[in-house]
Symmetry: C2
Subunit: 259 residues, 2 copies
């Protein structure tokens, strides 16, 4: 995940030569049914999970059965995925920064998801369980956070981390988690998703597509993230820091102390 | 830049109701020569600068003279830009996470820039000047960082911040700075660009297009960011923290103590 580089370390008092590690950036092109779909900037691990998770997040596949075959070519910076049914090729692919044309023009940014029924899974969690999960999460992320500002994501039950991924992109880290869950036949609709990054409407939409009822972030949500969580039925907990957290939506899943 | 929401603040000891601020997320669709180009997830400030900066970063315009007219419609979530010459419409638009098709297939991620001559501007900076600039930068960013995890970007000379922007996206913050510089006729080729965010190859490419010789980040670069900075002639300084920094490339622009 890292390269070494000779650098200069400078302070107000002087400059000295040393070696430092730098996080790797990889470019992965996804080819869907012989059609070049997108090139992702990512960390070079779990590329198969990333590809499948990306297709899931974009609604291009919905289950493992949709996948006919997958061929990862790391040397060639590409992965080929074939689906059983011919996939309608999207005009544009939304991303962290971009929304497909259909989402523009003042339309809902949640196009393609808002027709789903509201998530009403009655899983519950206590503040102490959330803080304990974040402790585990920070422990797993520690090296990467300190050296490269890498983002982490995890699928959890109320006690333990079940799947963990990291990536230079917060979107990719989540896609890797959901991709791994799909390929390993792990359900996501009664679990908690933990992310280190900010929760925008797009991050929310990833959890909504997988019908994950609880989304927990170390960082802040945006207003549209909060609004979307409210609409789709996701309990959104943000700014989990040290001993506290903010509960933004669907607070009924959070048991208060003593319950 | 913020909305207020009722939230629950939870700790191990209990839960209480309160109100908290949440950063706004805005969706801006750029229409270039009557063609829908892209929708950006951004903060709802300086949208004209963002649109122009985005077009600059994508190489769709290169100077103020290329712009025939611009019409910002905030209510409609869109901005219309017309160029003097008919613009060849790109098949794909690179983003924080995506690279256009032409950049995939193992080709250089820096397509369209690598033919430029090396940046050799002989501006110099001392470690103390960098630390003082970052102090100013952090002071300007303080509210936003603490409340919303918003990214900042600034164009500076060796002593002062000249232009400052913030946005929920680190790419947008930089595009806003360069867009403002273009519209205000401020040169960028003998300045320093400061960013709060990680320096990937894409961030480097923005500075390279504007021929800004020094790029300073509070965060880490990626290996391709370092490699690209080396190739195009940009002095890359990262991990500026408290009293120290890492100089990754073209160290000759950094004057050691006493010079």
């Amino acid at each position: 995940m890292f390269d070494k580089f000779p650098i200069l370390r400078a302070t107000r008092d002087g400059i000295k030569e040393m070696e430092d590690i730098v996080v790797k950036e990889f470019h992965l092109t996804i080819i869907l049914n012989e059609h070049e779909l997108v090139t992702l900037l990512c960390s070079p691990e779990k590329l198969d999970f990333l590809a499948i998770g990306f297709l899931l997040s974009e609604g291009l596949i919905n289950s493992k059965r949709d996948i006919k075959e997958m061929d990862l070519d790391v040397e060639g910076n590409l992965v080929r995925v074939a689906t059983k049914k011919p996939q309608k090729f999207p005009k544009d692919i939304p991303s962290k920064r971009l929304i497909g044309s259909s989402g523009g023009k003042g339309a809902s940014p949640f196009a393609g998801i808002d027709t789903q029924s509201k998530i009403d899974t009655s899983i519950h969690v206590s503040p102490s369980e959330v803080l304990d999960l974040i402790d585990q999460f920070v422990y797993r992320s520690e090296l990467f956070e300190s050296t490269g500002g890498v983002h982490g994501a995890a699928l959890c039950d109320t006690k333990n981390i079940l799947v963990f991924s990291e990536d230079i992109g917060r979107h990719n880290a989540i896609d890797k988690v959901f991709g791994e869950c799909l390929l390993r036949d792990m359900p996501t609709d009664d679990r908690l998703l933990v992310t280190s990054g900010r929760v925008s409407s797009e991050i929310l939409s990833k959890a909504a597509r997988r019908r994950t009822p609880l989304l927990i972030s170390k960082s802040a949500p945006t207003n549209l993230g909060v609004q979307f969580a409210h609409e789709v039925g996701i309990t959104l907990i943000g700014f989990v820091r040290e001993k506290r957290m903010n509960i933004y939506t669907h607070r009924w899943r959070v048991l208060s102390h003593g319950n």
